[in-house]
């Protein structure tokens, strides 16, 4: 089974600072890590290969040269190959341009059975790149996968997390899955993996080697405009109902009726 895992390097902080002028993320002085959700994607990719007993896991990221570190970490966990997509021309890519670029790399790679991504990146939180890639490749996608129940070379049955519970979905392969953290417990790197990661030659693919359409990459290929980034004001007010449960329930029903039905 040939598995592709898409990862992103992100700043190691849950408290991301926004540049008030450019409305972009401030990255200076912050350590970089693999996007936490992508670690589950890596683990699931490795597990699928182990389950199949054959095949390989290729991990891909688009980013600056320092993103090689994230790829090496993925290799130290057990990914077989890694590819970095890096080019000045990719700078400023939004989720649309990023998913276009990633899909070009996947096409260049050729045969694959499954693509796995984390459900979203912890810095941008858009959850759009995975679905974008499947759209560019014209393959099915299942988002928020929490379990891969069954998988053969033709199809997979997965559990997709919803707010109420989960859906069971069946899809032909190749397909793209984005995964949630409930799907597995990621392993630590192994010593042999770390040694391999140290030595592995990671190819760097550029816009030219991917034969990208210049109008579809980087800032020019990015239709998204960030008008404003802000923290929503905390909810205000609210009313505490007190008294016996029966009484409170009645009051609550009354208030809801007034509020909803006017």
């Amino acid at each position: 089974m040939n598995i592709i895992v898409l990862i992103k390097q992100v700043p190691e902080t849950t408290d991301v600072k926004i540049d008030p002028v450019t409305n972009t993320l401030k990255r200076e002085g912050v350590q970089s890590i693999i996007n936490p959700f992508d670690v589950y994607a890596i683990e699931e990719g490795i597990r699928l290969r182990e389950r199949a007993g054959a095949g390989k896991v290729t991990v891909i990221t688009m980013g600056p040269p320092q993103a090689l570190e994230a790829l090496r970490e993925a290799v130290s966990m057990g990914c077989d190959d890694a590819i970095l997509l890096s080019d000045r021309k990719f700078a400023g890519s939004d989720t649309w341009a990023t998913s276009y670029t990633l899909s070009k790399a996947i096409k260049k790679l050729g045969k694959f059975d499954v693509i796995i991504c984390g459900k979203q990146a912890s810095d941008g939180d858009t959850a759009q790149v995975g679905p974008g890639v499947s759209t560019h490749l014209d393959i099915p996608q299942v988002t928020y996968v929490k379990k891969i129940e069954e998988i053969t070379i033709e199809k997979a049955r997965v559990e997709r997390m919803t707010e109420e519970g989960y859906d069971i979905m069946e899809t032909p392969l190749p397909a793209l899955f984005t995964v949630v953290k409930e799907i597995n417990v990621p392993r630590l790197p192994s010593l042999k993996g770390k040694m391999r990661a140290k030595k592995i030659e990671i190819p760097v693919w550029t816009a030219e080697s991917l034969e990208c359409d210049g109008k579809k990459i980087g800032l020019d290929g990015s239709p998204t405009r960030v008008m404003k980034v802000f923290t929503p004001a905390p909810r205000e007010g609210g009313e505490m109902l007190s008294g016996e449960p029966e009484e409170v329930a009645k009051k609550l029903v009354g208030l809801l009726r007034d509020a909803v039905l006017g």
């Binding site: 392993r187 630590l188 790197p189 192994s190 010593l191 042999k192 993996g193 770390k194 040694m195 140290k198």
Partner: protein, 383 residues
């Protein structure tokens, strides 16, 4: 400080520290409380290729030596000195095979230890034979193609959990110390039983158990080296394993210092952090300095052993002696710096103090280490 580690040694250190922080530290208090053996952590070590770092490559290991073993043990013991012992005591049980095993024995036993599939143990001590190992009463009687073992070993680390036991028994009582021999006994051999599991002060998740032989029949191929080498096997094993005990002590001490530095910075009395008091600062400075000295001694001793040096008993004893005394002092001081909170189980330092104590006792008490060092000195003086 730069310890001039190789790339590989740095990776071992990083990985073991990651395991200590992410996997061991969160469960250490639980295992300390229950005394259960931490198989889940052993599994992590196996999956991370840690179990075989000191085993030669031709038997499935990474081909490292005593320094690699010390680096790993130090880091894992930072997480928990009891849990790390499952790994370190496997080293103790494995050295007899690495040092004295023949090709067949190495091929048969080392790969499973290297992969983490099996743990090992070393069984020398008996109720009447502690420091005076020459007093062991367990016998191994040759009968055709077999040896028949009878006797009871006590306080065997990894007892019951390990699959492979290196055992010292008397093959010829008339010859005194030259009448002892070392054997490999596999769990599951008829006549091998496990007795009482001890309820201990510290390293509580480590299994310390009686290992009982009742007409336990093993093939003669399980003899290590030759008949009569039993105590040589034991002494050479200890020469190689004592830096591991030292590293266990070091990891515990480092953890105590780290906890003390953090706590004294947070805890406020008299309107300021207690780390602003010189009386506290001097204690921290002394703790840190003795830890660094102990680390330097351990790494030097390990490097000397790995270089193939011949007379290693002295340095090996020195690092075990020094590091364990440092660990006891540093952990006691850490409890002191935590004040009453340090005495409470909600805080991690009382456990560190309990765990540190054993490092002054096993693999030869510190009095015995001083004896080893002194006799080496006297021998050198006469040479």
């Amino acid at each position: 400080m730069d310890y001039l580690f190789t790339e590989e040694q740095k990776m071992i250190q990083d990985l073991c520290m990651q395991i200590a922080k992410e996997k061991i530290k969160p469960v250490a208090a639980h295992y300390d409380e229950t005394g259960e053996f931490a198989w889940d952590i052993i599994k992590v070590l196996a999956e991370s290729d840690i179990c075989g770092i000191y085993i030669p490559e031709e038997y499935g290991g990474m081909g490292g030596g005593i320094l690699e073993l010390a680096i790993a043990t130090e880091a894992l013991s930072w997480g928990c000195g009891g849990i790390s012992l499952g790994f370190a005591a496997t080293g103790l049980g494995t050295f007899p095979i690495i040092l004295f095993g023949n090709e067949e024995q190495k091929n048969k036993y080392l790969p499973d230890i290297a992969s983490g599939k099996k743990l090992a143990a070393f069984a020398l001590t008996e109720a009447e034979a502690g420091s005076d190992a020459g007093g062991i009463k367990t016998t191994a009687r040759k009968e055709g193609d077999h040896y028949i073992l009878n006797g009871t070993k006590q306080w065997i680390t990894n007892g019951g959990e390990a699959e492979i036991y290196s055992v010292v028994a008397m093959t010829n009582k008339d010859k005194g110390p030259r009448g002892a021999s070392a054997f490999i006994v596999e769990k599951g051999t008829p006549g091998l039983f496990f007795g009482k599991k001890e309820n201990k002060m510290g390293i509580r998740s480590s299994s310390t158990r009686e290992v009982i032989f009742t007409d336990c029949k093993i093939p003669k191929e399980n003899l290590l080296g030759k008949e009569g080498l039993g105590f040589i096997v034991a002494m050479k094993t200890f020469d190689n394993s004592r830096p591991g005990v030292a590293a266990q002590a070091l990891g515990i001490a480092q953890r105590a210092l780290d906890e003390a530095v953090a706590y004294t910075h947070e805890r406020r009395q008299f309107g300021q952090a207690i780390s602003s008091f010189q009386g506290v600062q001097f204690m921290l400075a002394d703790m840190a300095t003795s830890i660094e000295a102990s680390r330097g001694l351990i790494y030097s001793a390990a490097r000397m052993i790995d270089s193939g040096a011949k007379n290693i008993a002295k340095v090996s004893a020195m690092c075990k002696l020094y590091a364990s005394d440092v660990a006891m002092r540093v952990t006691t001081d850490a409890v002191q710096l935590f004040g009453g909170y340090g005495y409470m189980k909600e805080y991690p330092v009382e456990k560190l103090m309990r765990d540190a104590k054993i490092t002054q006792i096993y693999e030869g008490t510190n009095q015995i280490q001083r004896g080893v060092i002194a006799s080496a000195l006297i021998k050198e003086g006469l040479a």
